[in-house]
Amino acid sequence: MNEALTLLSFGDQGWGDTIARGVLVTVTLALATLPFGLVIGFVIALAKNSSEPSLKLAANIYTTIFRGLPELLTLFLVYFGVQIGLNELVKLAGYDIYFEVNSFVAGMVALSLVFSSFASEAFLSAFRGIPHGQFEGGYALGLSRFQTMLLVILPQLIRLALPALGNLWLILLKETALVSIIGLEDTLRESSIAARVTKEPFLFFGIACLIYLVLAIISSSGLARIERWSKRGEVRR
């Protein structure tokens, strides 16, 4: 027991500080992905909700692809594909520089693609929950389309989409673990390094699981609070 505590302590003897740095990377990656995923997801949902069939179809192709591919494969496609594509472009332009894609950025891009395609479905079903009269009311007051969307629709949309988006956030937090495979030093990678060096795999992978669990618990309580806040204007029945 004492031995395990020494291994987990901060300082030269333990791995606590290394793993803590990994946790920071995990949380940063998830937080950095979130705004991109949300914005792209919202735009895709708008496209799916539009009356233009070609736009609808284009958006549906996007979601079909990124919802159907395994997250790990999307990650590899982005990581290797972007690297090859960029280097080909540079070669075409006549320069002789070799690019290497940062694993953090690759992870962010891949996770944004996946997150946005799922988020677009969440937004879309929230759109269906808003009666058409809300749009018409906005236009009748002389608001422009953009203003109606921003001031009338979006606040209601967020409230309706929040439970689904909360679930997606929890999934995103878990999926960041995959980025450790392409070398990002996140929680899982730091713990597997510690496990290999100390030959205590059960301890360190157990700790990694517990860290993810704690992150999930913190997130759910935070999400519950946000949900309560978003419902503050609702009539109590």
Partner: protein, 303 residues
Amino acid sequence: MIAPNPRTGLKPPPLAKRPWTATKITGHVLMAFWAISGVYLLTYLLGNLEKPILELALPFLSGEWEVYASDRIATHKFDSFLGRYGDKYISGFLVTLKIVGLSLLFGAALSIPIAAARSSKWKILSRPAYAYVYFFRGTPLLAQTFLIYYGFGSFRPELQSIGLWWFFRDAFYCIIFAFSLNTSAYQAEILRGAVQNISRGQWEGAQALGLSKPVTFFKIILPQALMVALRPYGNEIILMIKGSAIAAIITIYDLMGETRRAYSRTYDFQAYIWAAVIYLMIVETLRRVWDRIEARLTRHLIR
């Protein structure tokens, strides 16, 4: 053109014109993008199929075409990616199916007692079941896999003494074990949610008819619950197929594993593109088949 009404001579109003608005232009540009990338991908991938296609077509060709085809096969240096790795992809696909199928079956069997314990009114049963479900749903599948595959190595002497080491030494058994535990937690929640969704009146009605509890459960509650659970079960299968790519990380040559091996040998990016095409086809087929099954099984319900 629509003919005028013969009696009144009135013409219907013309169809509303759909002008080229910004939305329409954007939609067409995006569709053009998808179409171009699709065509590019197809030619890129089919270039690899040229030799087998030519060979297959050879007996049916005649004259100039036959000369052309045999000439092309003889002189062109075909070193196609698919020729070398096609069989590997098929075997990888079968391994993926095996992993997913076995894990789903074991998970389904395991989920029944967990769901029962979770909805039990005894806290001594429901608390541990809740913790189990929370743990497996709250942590990444990859971390769980590592915990089981590498972590159980810490207990090698103990496992050897009880004669279970052969199980935890093998990556394939470990992945089945890890995936079964993971999916059992999700399936238990699906099952519990579906059973709780059935209204109390169903239980009361059965009781009024004098049916025993097990008969009520299996003949009245469960069929209705499974109907509700159909969609989440389909989603769980798709999640499992996508999640099974993780098996490649612990040295199993499933579809993803074969892909990684092919890529590390050739540095040919189409390795990943073929994998993407195969995964997309599996998931899309399953989704469509599942929609059909659902429509068929719920055809008596008013929607």
